[in-house]
């Protein structure tokens, strides 16, 4: 039971991050490596603000804003300075390492004695007794669903349609007399905002910030998006955003299985094999292989 709870919690926290990766990778068709820096940026922001006594819920919004700024920077580097997409992400990721260090003040900031979104008098009064075990999951679920529905709603606005057009057919955006560069910047901003929000939630759940917590974020994000989108392709009644959240949970479940059943040295290999199996199954499921994947 506890292990399932853990997988759901971790899966949904990383799911918020994966929603951001979904925007860049799937909608904008932009391989954005900024996330390895913006995920810990959100965490560093939260660590800084929480240690200074700021309301933990407010830190979520500020972390989101910090991520938006990081995304705008990546966008400006790419659009205005004409740096290739992959490179502009790498540049921002590298720069953010220092920014994160400066923001947090040191490489590891513990938050054990502080109030977080999961542990404050208000929440502890609502969740008492047996319910206390589920409070993290419920809060994470609310946050993840809120992000999902807001993102769904946004994608239906005019700006959201332009975003989707920019990824599929940017000539269309230009022909509508819109600046496709601006659309990309907006997309990157929202994406990195979500990633930083995920980082903020992560730091508050694990109760510490560590500078190395961003390493490999992009791998988890891409894996979640790909697992979710390709495995659940057949279930057309689910929105892509929902499948991304499920994909993230499935990825964490793979890791949990690898951890529980096999010797520690083999963990990465087992995770890779499980990932492969899921991909192969999903390829069998779908009718034709997409050529540009």
């Amino acid at each position: 039971m506890g292990i399932i709870l853990g997988v759901l919690e971790q899966g949904l926290i990383f799911g918020i991050m994966a929603l951001g990766v979904y925007i860049t990778y799937k909608i904008l068709d932009f391989p954005d490596l900024t996330v390895d820096g913006s995920f810990p940026l959100g965490a560093a922001m939260s660590a800084l603000l929480i240690t200074h006594g700021v309301n933990p819920y407010l830190t979520l919004l500020i972390s989101f804003a910090a991520g938006v700024l990081a995304g705008i920077c990546t966008g400006l580097i790419h659009v205005k300075l004409k740096v290739r997409d992959l490179l502009s992400g790498i540049i921002m990721m590298t720069a953010l390492y220092t920014i994160n260090m400066v923001v947090a003040g040191k490489a590891n900031v513990p938050l054990f004695s502080k109030e977080t979104i999961f542990d404050n008098s208000f929440i502890n009064n609502i969740f008492t007794g047996e319910m206390a075990n589920f409070k993290t999951l419920i809060i994470v679920l609310i946050l993840a669903l809120a992000c999902k529905f807001l993102l769904d709603a946004y994608l239906k606005t005019k700006s959201g349609f332009l975003l989707r057009a920019a990824g599929d057919n940017d000539v269309l955006v230009t022909s509508l007399a819109k600046d496709k560069g601006l659309v990309k910047i907006v997309g990157l901003a929202i994406a990195n905002g979500l990633v930083a929000l995920g980082g903020s939630v992560m730091a508050q759940q694990q109760r510490y910030f560590d500078i190395s917590m961003g390493t490999g974020t992009i791998v988890i994000g891409l894996a979640s998006v790909i697992i979710g989108i390709s495995l659940l392709r057949g279930l057309t009644f689910l929105r892509s955003t929902t499948t991304v959240l499920i994909g993230s949970i499935l990825y964490k479940a793979c890791v949990a299985i690898a951890l529980a059943k096999f010797p520690p040295t083999y963990m990465k290999l087992i995770t890779a094999v499980l990932f492969l199996i899921i991909l192969v199954i999903s390829m069998q499921l779908k009718k034709k292989v997409k050529t540009n994947d």
Binding site: M1, G2, I3, I4, L5, G6, V7, Q10, F14, Y97, M101, K106, A107, N108, P110, L111, F112, S113, A132, N133, Q205, Q206, R207, Y208, D210, I211, S212, M213, T215, G216, I220, K252, V255, A256, L259, A260, P264, T265, Y266, M267, K268, L269, A272, V273, L276, L279, V280, M283, K288, V289, T291
Partner: protein
Amino acid sequence: MKKKMLAVILSMTMAAALLGGCGNEQKESSAAKEPAATEQPAPQADDPQAAKEPEEAGDNASSEENKPASGLVEGDFTIGISQFAQHGSLDNCREGFLTGLAEEGFIEGENLTVEYQNAEADMGIVNQIPQGFVSNKVDLICAIATPAAQSAYNAAMNSGIPVIYTAVNDPVGAELAKEDGMPVGEVTGTSDKLPVDAQLKMIRELLPDAKKIGIMYTTSEVNSESTIAEYEAAVGQYGFELVTTGINTTADAPLAADNLLSKVDCLNNLTDNTVVSALPTILDKANTQKIPVFGSEVEQVKIGCLASEGIDYYQLGIKTGKMAAQVLKGEKKASEIKMETITGSELYLNTKVADDLGISLPDDVKSRASETFTEIQMAE
């Protein structure tokens, strides 16, 4: 269409095989570190543990040979060990921990089940490991290194499962202990704080004319930062000046080493994981310029540091294991045990390095060395 799918599968399998290859290599290298302990319990000169405590090194070989002083403790216990990364010192800690438990009557395979997990330095996984332990309702979690300890305490906080940590450099800074060393909850353990004064004193003895000590550290490791702060406070007393260089990854090490070596009379190495990984490169550069490099623990002296006044991670592990035994027996709660730091230090020397550098080692230093190596072991 089929071909394309085949190609995808093939490339994924190759990638998986590559990953697997790396994993195996690590496993072999960690096994190669304790040849005497795993193959034959007889003491051998190249194995410090076997040479110093032959009877304890025997514990690693087979638990049947082990004779706990107090006899087996009644009952069936399960512990989870969450180790942050594969690393010589951390592995020694873990072995010491199990030996410490065995000496107190908890023997793996008899009355003790050990679930060992290694996060391979992945911050996402280091979180998931203790959650698994908590859901399996283990009796105790042993966490090795700072991030593992913080995650374990966070996961176990509400379940009442005690956490015993080791190799946490600064438990107070990590908010695992209060200023006076008492735990903040059901969490206690041992710190691997380096004996800074002893090390500086030893460097002064070996190099009476040296003025500047260089230290390379990784900016992402808090342990290194807090140790450097201690060095900064202490170097003055011994007439040294401190020069530091921060790096981010092992890839930065060669350039940083060149820069640092041009400014200093000797290098001093901490237990900084990234720098330790790059140590062979640094040693190579330092040797060509005849600049001595001091280590912080025995493994570093083995591969070519001149000397180290460091702590013995195996002993640290034993101490931690005994703390865990107290908690398992129910003698004390984790929250009642003060966190501990090893006070003594062990001197290790490498005479081959001294000869190469043309440094004569004073006899009194030689005589108090816990162990002297006469050759440089090739780094794995």
